[in-house]
């Protein structure tokens, strides 16, 4: 059923408009600009043609089959009427983008219930209302104009958030900062909810990472069951909004008085192996690390730096995030003895090596030798935004080493000139996880290690 939303062969846009700037126009434009190759049917009683597509008076006037209907109508009443039409036409998937339903309370709630009733009676799946639907290479239903084609990546972002499908999606698409496959915003989730989508994307082979934002949990018991299955295969990053400590229940037991919604959601995440994010940036950052880096076998980290103090700080952060900094093996120490003025330790201070053979060469030889060490599972590399690092950045040395050694590396950049920092952040950041602070990099890596260790346990 979910296929009809993400891979429809035909789509009708109700409330389509020929006036640029109108929501009904943006939706048609976004579909037109995507790689959607099926039939597009704008519906508007007062137009004949929109963006080259023939316009129909109503859904029932459309000659062919309609897989998916997208509506952005001004009133809930009109939306309910459209649902009736969709039922007549035999449509099985509808995205309702308009607001004014259950989130408003009162009549809005009644209208939403009417939609649910029509959907149930006629076997229609409904996404929304109050959502932006889908942003993907093959179809874009969002009301926010896309500037570029969406990547065919390996990450999906799901959420009860307009921000996700509008602001975040367009940021990611324009800046190519995340290898996105689909963004899906499902608003009030009167029917299609996180469980449907988690199950669907859990089974999609080209999806490697799922990032999800929820304000309410529709069916926690099922979420626990599904997430456990999906998270055993691929990382599910989870940001839970509206976490309150106050017990929402009038409990008679001691247990009930302690059990807050936040604690239960947190327990579900631990139990299923979902990775908790604390904000929207982490939702994206963690997905970046998971989608670009191989999984580590353990939590033993090499910290690679040119500045002792930074190494000290990163070591402390590693300790507080459950990561270890082991000594390198005697073999590595011996191999690298000419590159260090004192025997190599961890953090690995490259300063002497850089003065001897230069930065680029150091990154090409000394760094991978440390990363290859059997005591090491992953590395945090501190990179500065100065001219001396640019050659290595341009030559994509780190990308090559990650590929060749097969261990994950996160990059933290805390100093430099903006003109060089921007290159590292924007260009290198397309392919590697680059963080503007030490703590964000260490935290993201700790999540990757946690998942890697859990994965090893499951497969053992």
């Amino acid at each position: 059923m979910m296929e009809l939303f993400f891979k429809p062969k035909s789509v009708a846009v109700i409330g389509a408009s020929g006036k640029p700037g109108k929501l009904g126009y943006v939706i048609v434009k976004n579909i037109s600009d995507s790689d959607f190759s099926g039939d597009v049917y704008p519906v508007n009683p007062k137009s004949d043609e929109i963006l080259g597509y023939k316009v129909y008076r109503s859904v029932t006037d459309i000659p062919g089959e309609v897989d998916l209907v997208v509506t952005a109508l001004p009133t809930p009443k009109l939306t309910v009427a459209t649902m009736e039409e969709c039922a007549k036409k035999g449509v099985k998937a509808v995205i309702i983008e308009s607001a004014g339903f259950a989130e408003m309370g009162g009549d809005g709630k009644v209208f939403q219930q009417q939609i649910v009733d029509i959907a149930k009676k006629n076997g229609i799946r409904v996404m929304g209302p109050n959502c932006s639907g889908i942003v993907s290479r093959d179809i874009v239903t969002s009301i926010y104009p896309m500037t570029k084609k969406v990547a065919r990546g390996n990450v999906v972002l799901l959420g009860q958030s307009g921000l996700l499908a509008a602001g975040m999606a367009s940021d990611i698409v324009e800046n190519e900062s995340l290898n996105i496959s689909k963004v899906c915003s499902f608003g009030n989730k009167c029917d299609v909810n996180e469980n449907d989508l988690l199950e669907y994307f859990g089974n999609e082979d080209d999806v490697d990472v799922i990032s999800m934002y929820l304000e309410t949990v529709s069916d926690g018991r099922n979420l626990t069951r599904i997430a456990k299955k999906v998270a055993a295969e691929k990382p599910v990053i989870f940001l839970s909004g509206g976490r309150t400590e106050a017990g929402a229940r009038a409990a008679m037991s001691h247990t009930g008085s302690i059990a807050s919604n936040a604690k239960i959601v947190e327990a579900a995440a631990k139990q299923t192996g979902m990775i908790m994010a604390d904000d929207f940036t982490e939702l994206k950052d963690f997905a970046k690390v998971f989608s670009t880096q191989p999984l580590p076998k353990g939590n033993r980290i090499a910290v690679i730096t040119l500045a002792g103090s930074v190494g000290v700080n990163v070591s402390d952060l590693c300790a507080s995030h459950g990561l270890e900094l082991p000594k390198l093996t005697p073999e590595t120490t011996e191999k690298l003895k000419d590159m260090f003025d004192t025997p190599v330790s961890n953090p690995v201070d490259l300063y002497f090596s850089v003065t001897k053979i230069g930065f680029t060469k150091t990154l090409e030889t000394t760094f991978p030798d440390a990363l290859r060490d059997p005591n090491i599972d992953a590395a945090v590399l501190i990179l500065a935004g100065f001219e001396y690092t640019q050659e290595a950045v341009q030559k994509k040395i780190i990308q090559k080493i990650v590929q060749e050694v097969g261990k994950p590396v996160v990059i933290c950049m805390i100093v430099g000139y903006n003109k060089y920092k921007n290159v590292i952040m924007d260009e290198m950041g397309k392919e590697l996880p680059v963080f503007p602070s030490l703590i964000s990099g260490v935290k993201a890596l700790s999540k990757l290690c946690e998942f890697g260790i859990r994965r090893n346990k499951i497969s053992a």
Binding site: G220, H254, T255, G256
Partner: protein, 231 residues
């Protein structure tokens, strides 16, 4: 009475709160070890039951209307002989009748005095979205003040129970602190799985408190229990 009988008679009487005796019977049937607790409806019966269980004993008021047993003066512990039981019985009745004149009092629960062990709390609540959820924590002040507890969604597996006991801040106290006996942690984990298995197939239960549970070097026992049924 079996669990099914207790649940159906509570339903008939339109009450959602079970007595401690009923709660312990249900938990025992689920394979969870509880202190022997028997209802006495008269002073003479209280004495004969105490003789049977062996002194010292504890007497607790048994009434569905009195939930705060200690506050009502309805609990007397460490009763060493017949005279102490008789005196305690009278005092409990007097104090509880004064505390709650309208209360329907069925008698007193007589139970063996459990040796004090590491104080544990276990429980269960039903969440609207997640369904039954089980809880584990260290009892007493640690749960009162620090809320040092862990939760999991039912049904749980052994591995989840292991995570639950390992997740609390005060887990060191389970290992035996300052010469105290360590708690039988695998036994506690087994109890959590039994609790989960039980509530998973008993949807009519809304909340369970086992507080305290005394954990020993070998095994553990539920000293006080409370079960609330769904409306």
């Amino acid at each position: 009475m079996t669990t099914a009988q207790i649940l159906s008679s509570a339903r008939e009487e339109k009450r959602t709160v079970l007595t401690e005796i009923e709660a312990k019977q249900i938990l025992s049937e689920a394979g969870i070890n509880c202190t022997a607790t028997v209802l006495a409806t008269s002073k003479e019966q209280a004495v004969s039951i105490s003789d049977e269980i062996g002194y010292p004993v504890v007497l607790k008021i048994s009434s569905v209307d009195i939930t705060h047993k200690s506050d009502s003066g309805g609990v007397k512990v460490n009763l060493a002989d017949k005279e102490a039981v008789e005196q305690a019985y009278d005092e409990i009745m007097k104090s509880c009748r004064a505390y709650a004149p309208e209360a329907d009092i069925e008698g007193v629960a007589v139970q063996g005095m459990a040796t004090v062990g590491t104080e544990i709390i276990m429980g269960m609540i039903k969440d609207v979205s997640f369904g039954p959820v089980v809880m584990f924590g260290l009892g007493g002040v640690l749960v009162e003040v620090l809320k040092d507890v862990s939760f999991r969604i039912v049904p749980i597996e052994k591995a989840d129970a292991v995570d639950m006991t390992g997740e609390i801040q005060g887990k060191k106290l389970l290992e035996g602190y300052r010469g105290q006996d360590p708690a039988d942690v695998p036994y506690l984990q087994e109890m959590l799985v039994k609790l989960s298995d039980f509530v998973n197939v008993t949807p009519e239960i809304e909340e369970i408190d086992m507080n305290p549970v005394f954990a020993y070097k070998d095994g553990a026992v539920v000293v006080d229990a409370r079960i609330i049924l769904s409306e």
